[in-house]
C-alpha cells in the first residue's frame, strides 16, 4: 500500500506538470497569444492604474524593477506589522510586532522563505495574516517566476528578456490567483476553516474549557503551497488539523506546491524548441528527488532505536512528531516534497525526524536545485547545467556551448560567485552561532542534534525554504538579524547574477552545431549534470553533515 500511495502521487504530479509546462510557456510568451483575449483586459487595467510601461527591458532594467518593486512591498508590510495593534481586523487584540521580529518576518515572506519566528495564533492580527502574509505569498512567487522567465528567455535566445512588471502581473492573473481560488474552495470542503470570527470556546467532554483558534485559514493554505511559500497560519503549519485535515488535503497540498516547479523544466523544453532538453533537466531533478524520498521513507519506517530500547514497539515507524492520519508514508513524502520545492510547510515536526530522515530535508536544501521553489529552483539547475557544460568543455578542450551560445569567462565568474555564496551564508553564520553564546543558547536538544538544529536554521534561510528544527529558540535579536540577512543574500544575489548571465547570453551570436558540439539533451549529459551537482554542491557540506545528522545516527543506532 505504501508503494502504491507514493507511485500514485508521482503519477498525479506528472499528469499535472506536463500540461502546466505547456501552459506556462504560453502564458508568459513574448508574442501575442490567445490568452491575451482572456486576461488582457484585467492586465491592461492593472498597468494603467499603476502607471506602468510595458516595453522590453535589458537585464539591468529588469533587475532594478524587480528590486524596486520588492522594496516597495517590504516597506508597506513593515508598516502594517508595526501598526497592527491600532489597525482594524484584530479581534484578538494583538499588539504591534517589535521592530527586529517585524524585520525578520517581512524579510522572510519577501524572500519566499517563510521562516516564522512568531507564532501565527498569538503574533498576528487577521489583517496582518491577510494584508502582509497572504499578500506577499502571491507577490514573491510571482517575482521568482518572473526571474526564471527572464533567465530562460536569455538562455534560449528569445527576442528579449521581457518586461518585469508584465511577468509579475501575469503570474498573478494567469496562474496564482485562479489556482488559489480553486484550491481554497476544495480545502474548505474538506474542513479547513475560512472565517473572520474569533477563536471558538468549547466545553469538552471532560468539562474543561478549550479555546479553538481559527481564522481565514484556507485562503492562506492554498497560496502557501501554490507559491512554494510555506508559512503556516498556525504555529505548527500543515500538521495542524485545521490546515491539513485529511490525507486527501495532504495530497492536494503536495501537488499544489510541486506542480509549478515540476512544470518549469517542461516549459523550458518548449521555449528551447527541444522538449528533450527539458526532460533531461526534469530527469536530473527527478532522480535526486527519488533517492532522497527513498532515504526518508526507509529511515522513518525503521523507527527510532532509542524508543525501541525504552520498550515502545517501533513497528509503526517513528511516530513522534507525526500525525496519525498521515502515518509514515504521507509524512515522509511531504517532508521530501516541501524541501525539494523549498516550500517549508511541514506536516510533521522535522526536529523529531530520525537522524537520516532529518538529513533528507537538510541535504535537499543544501543542493537547492531538486526542483526548487517557484522559479528559483529552475534557475539553479540551469546554472548547474551551464557549469556542467563548462566542465565538460574543459575536459575535451572545446569552447563550451549551451543551446548554441558560448559560455565564457564573464558568465562563469557570475556562476562561480553564486555557487560560493550559498555555502558561505550557511556555514559562516552557523560557525558563529555555535561558537558563541548568542547562537548556542537557543539549542533545545542536546548532543550532535544541536549542531543540526543550528545548521538547519541557516540552510533553510539560505535556500529560502522556511521549515525549521523548530525546537530552536529563535526569536532573539541574534537569530532575527542573522537569518534575516542570510535570507536576503540567499534570495537576491542569485537572482541578480543569473539575470545578468541571461542578459549576457542573449547578446551573443549563436554558433552553429557541429559534430564536436556537446549534446546537452543526451543521457551522457544527464550523468555529467548529476555528477556536477553532487560533487560541487554536496562535497562542500559533507563535513558539517557528518558532525550533525550522521554523528547522531551513529550514537543511537
Amino acid at each position: 500500500m505504501d508503494f502504491i500511495q507514493i507511485s500514485l502521487f508521482l503519477a498525479l504530479l506528472l499528469a499535472a506538470a506536463i500540461p502546466m509546462g505547456r501552459y506556462l510557456e504560453r502564458a508568459f510568451a513574448l508574442e501575442r497569444t490567445r490568452m491575451d483575449k482572456v486576461f488582457g483586459g484585467v492586465e491592461q487595467a492593472l498597468y494603467k492604474v499603476s502607471g506602468i510601461r510595458t516595453g522590453d527591458m535589458n537585464w539591468k532594467q529588469y533587475v532594478v524593477a524587480l528590486l524596486a518593486s520588492n522594496l516597495a512591498m517590504a516597506a508597506i508590510c513593515y508598516l502594517i506589522l508595526r501598526l497592527q495593534g491600532i489597525l482594524p481586523g484584530n479581534p484578538a487584540g494583538i499588539g504591534a510586532m517589535e521592530p527586529l521580529l517585524a524585520f525578520n518576518t517581512v524579510t522572510s515572506f519577501l524572500t519566499n522563505t517563510n521562516l516564522q519566528h512568531y507564532s501565527g495564533e498569538t503574533g498576528l492580527s487577521y489583517l496582518s495574516q491577510m494584508a502582509v502574509i497572504m499578500y506577499l505569498m502571491f507577490t514573491t512567487p510571482a517575482t521568482g517566476i518572473a526571474a526564471v522567465m527572464a533567465f530562460m528567455r536569455g538562455v534560449t535566445g528569445q527576442s528579449s528578456l521581457g518586461n518585469f512588471y508584465v511577468d509579475l502581473v501575469r503570474a498573478h492573473t494567469r496562474l496564482l490567483i485562479p489556482l488559489a481560488v480553486v484550491v481554497t474552495l476544495v480545502l474548505v470542503s474538506q474542513g479547513v476553516p475560512q472565517t473572520l470570527e474569533p477563536a471558538a470556546t468549547a466545553h469538552t467532554l471532560e468539562g474543561v474549557e478549550q479555546q479553538i483558534a481559527r481564522g481565514p485559514v484556507a485562503s492562506q493554505v492554498a497560496i502557501k503551497h501554490l507559491g512554494t511559500n510555506g508559512g503556516g497560519f498556525f504555529g505548527v503549519n500543515s500538521s495542524h488539523p485545521f490546515e491539513n485535515p485529511t490525507p486527501f488535503t495532504n495530497v492536494l497540498e503536495m501537488l499544489s506546491m510541486f506542480v509549478i516547479p515540476a512544470a518549469l523544466p517542461i516549459a523550458f523544453g518548449h521555449m528551447a524548441k527541444s522538449r528533450k532538453q527539458g526532460w533531461i533537466l526534469f530527469a536530473a531533478m527527478g532522480l535526486m528527488f527519488l533517492a532522497f524520498l527513498t532515504m526518508a521513507y526507509i529511515s522513518e519506517t525503521n523507527g527510532n532505536p532509542a524508543l525501541a530500547k525504552a520498550g515502545l514497539s517501533q513497528e509503526m515507524g517513528s511516530m513522534e512528531g507525526k500525525e496519525v492520519r498521515f502515518g509514515i508514508v504521507q509524512s515522509a513524502l511531504f517532508t521530501a516534497v516541501t524541501t525539494a520545492a523549498t516550500t517549508g510547510t511541514v506536516n510533521n515536526m522535522h526536529d523529531t525526524l530520525t537522524p537520516l530522515g532529518g538529513l533528507v530535508p537538510l541535504a535537499q536544501m543544501m543542493l537547492n536545485c531538486v526542483f526548487g521553489g517557484d522559479g528559483v529552483g529552475m534557475v539553479n539547475i540551469l546554472m548547474y547545467a551551464l557549469l556542467a557544460v563548462f566542465l565538460a568543455g574543459l575536459m575535451v578542450g572545446r569552447t563550451p556551448e549551451f543551446l548554441g551560445r558560448k559560455i565564457e569567462a564573464k558568465e562563469m565568474k557570475l556562476i562561480a560567485l553564486t555557487l560560493l555564496v550559498h555555502p558561505l551564508i550557511i556555514l559562516a553564520p552557523s560557525a558563529v552561532a555555535l561558537a558563541t553564546g548568542m547562537g548556542s543558547t537557543a539549542i533545545s536538544n542536546p548532543g550532535f542534534h544541536g549542531i543540526s538544529q543550528v545548521v538547519y536554521e541557516f540552510t533553510s534561510s539560505a535556500a529560502n525554504n522556511g521549515s525549521g528544527f523548530e525546537g530552536l529558540g529563535d526569536n532573539t535579536p541574534f537569530w532575527n538579524i542573522s537569518t534575516g540577512l542570510v535570507m536576503l543574500f540567499g534570495r537576491y544575489i542569485s537572482i541578480i547574477t543569473m539575470v545578468a548571465v541571461a542578459g549576457s547570453l542573449l547578446r551573443k551570436t549563436p554558433v552553429p552545431v557541429t559534430l564536436g558540439t556537446l549534446q546537452t539533451d543526451s543521457s551522457v549529459f544527464l550523468l555529467i549534470l548529476l555528477a556536477t551537482v553532487l560533487i560541487v554542491g554536496a562535497l562542500t557540506f559533507f563535513p558539517v553533515v557528518a558532525l550533525g545528522p550522521v554523528a547522531e545516527w551513529l550514537t543511537i543506532r
Binding site: S69, A202, T204, E206, F326, S452
Partner: protein, 187 residues
C-alpha cells in the same frame, strides 16, 4: 519607472491579493459551506459547543478512550510540541514513564502490544485521531470501567474507523472525540 509606480502597483496588488481574495473566499465559504468554514464545531443537544471534529481533546478519565500525548495538553489556542530529537534522553525518559502508567491502567496489556502512536507526541499537539490498534488496546479497560461488553466496544471502534482517503492515501484512523461521544450515548 519611478518609485511611485512601484508603490502604486504594490498597493493595487495588496488590495487584490491581501484583501479582495481572502474576503471573497470567506464570503463564498460562509454561504456554501458554513459549518466547515467556521471550524466543524460539534454542538450538543442543548446547543453548547463541545469541541471541533478536527481538533483533539485531552482525555484523562479511564472510562474514555485516551488520545495521543500532547505537551500542550490539547490547548487549541496554540499548537506545538516539545520537538524532542530522536536522540534526546528526555524523549526516552517520557516514554518509559508513560509505558509504566499505561500498563498500570491497563494491566492485561503486554508492553510490546502498545501501539507507538498512543505514546508519542503528535506534531500539532492537537491530533484528533489514534490508530484502530490504539483504540482496541484500551477496550478492555473501558469495558470494565463502564461495565460494558467488550465485543460491543470493538464493534463501536470498527464503526468509527475511518478508511484511507480514496481507499489509498493516508492511514486508517479513529476520531477519539467522536468515539467518546458515541461511548457516552451507549447504554
Amino acid at each position: 519607472m519611478s518609485m511611485l509606480q512601484n508603490v502604486r502597483l504594490s498597493v493595487v496588488l495588496l488590495l487584490i491579493c491581501g484583501l479582495a481574495y481572502p474576503l471573497a473566499m470567506t464570503g463564498i465559504s460562509k454561504l456554501a459551506m458554513p459549518a466547515k468554514a467556521s471550524g466543524s464545531l460539534i454542538v450538543d443537544d442543548k446547543g453548547n459547543v463541545i469541541g471541533s471534529e478536527l481538533i483533539g481533546q485531552a482525555f484523562t478519565d479511564p472510562k474514555y478512550f485516551a488520545g495521543r500525548i500532547s505537551s500542550i495538553e490539547y490547548n487549541a489556542a496554540s499548537s506545538g510540541s516539545n520537538n524532542y530529537a530522536p536522540s534526546n534522553p528526555a524523549l526516552a525518559g517520557r516514554t518509559t514513564k508513560d509505558i509504566e502508567a499505561f500498563l498500570k491502567a491497563n494491566p492485561t496489556v503486554k508492553q510490546e502490544e502498545i501501539p507507538a502512536d498512543l505514546l508519542t507526541n503528535s506534531g500539532s499537539g492537537l491530533d484528533p485521531h489514534i490508530s484502530p490498534e490504539a483504540a482496541r488496546v484500551q477496550a478492555e479497560r473501558i469495558a470494565k470501567a463502564r461495565n460494558l461488553d467488550q465485543a460491543r466496544l470493538n464493534a463501536l471502534i470498527d464503526e468509527y474507523t475511518e478508511e484511507r482517503s480514496l481507499g489509498v492515501f493516508g492511514q486508517p484512523r479513529v476520531n477519539v472525540l467522536k468515539l467518546n461521544i458515541a461511548l457516552d450515548r451507549m447504554k
